[in-house]
Amino acid sequence: MERRKFLSLTLGALALAVVPASVRAEDFRKLKPTVWSAHTVDDAIKNMYGTTDAIDEGVKLTTPDVAANGGAIPVKFSTKIDAKTIAVFQDANPEAAVCVYAINKYSVNNYDIKIKMAKSGTITVIVEGKDGKLYRAKKTLEVALGGCEG
């Protein structure tokens, strides 16, 4: 009985260990906790990628020039770059990070989200290419009515 238990436990552990990468989730809040507590965009990018050096091309970012409601600002971004991760930051709230996408083999990198900003500021989208380089797009917008005090 003991041995059977031991065997099933070991097999279970092995089965867990060989879960293919395609179904393994990457929670960047656990992997890189400092990204989420950083107060400036530069610090957050540095904590995420180790550098802030980025090329200003290859990323398309669309937001309204003036957002009437800071509680739900539509942010669209896309890229054709073969990406590993895509991260969104802004400088209007107490912390900088908004979200990080772990790109998979099925991804078509065309996204649309709604974010909160307490005041006018700049949104930065960073695409980490599989070539190891960072690509960046920035957009400054005016927020007429701040979103829920950040």
Partner: protein
Amino acid sequence: MKVKPKLRKGIVKVKAMAKNEMITYNQAEKKFGDREKADFITHLTGTVNGETVIDISTSQFLSKNPIFKFEFKGDNFKKGDKLLMNWVSRLGKTGKGKGKIK
């Protein structure tokens, strides 16, 4: 959560909405007098037939009841397959939803 995937020309376009207040640290302090009561979605994933098609780590700065629009390649999937989505919040709440690819 609501999940609506549509397959067109080999690409599945998804519109998904999660129900969550997305309470920031500042809002928690104002509302409950305790920053630690901040509660928002921190991680969201979606799978079709066991394959991950979306994986997002998120912060408190997504809007209340956030909407996620994203796309993925549909070559390996067909209409009728189900997209299952799950999220987990900072204080451990979870939510899920599924939608048939149309």
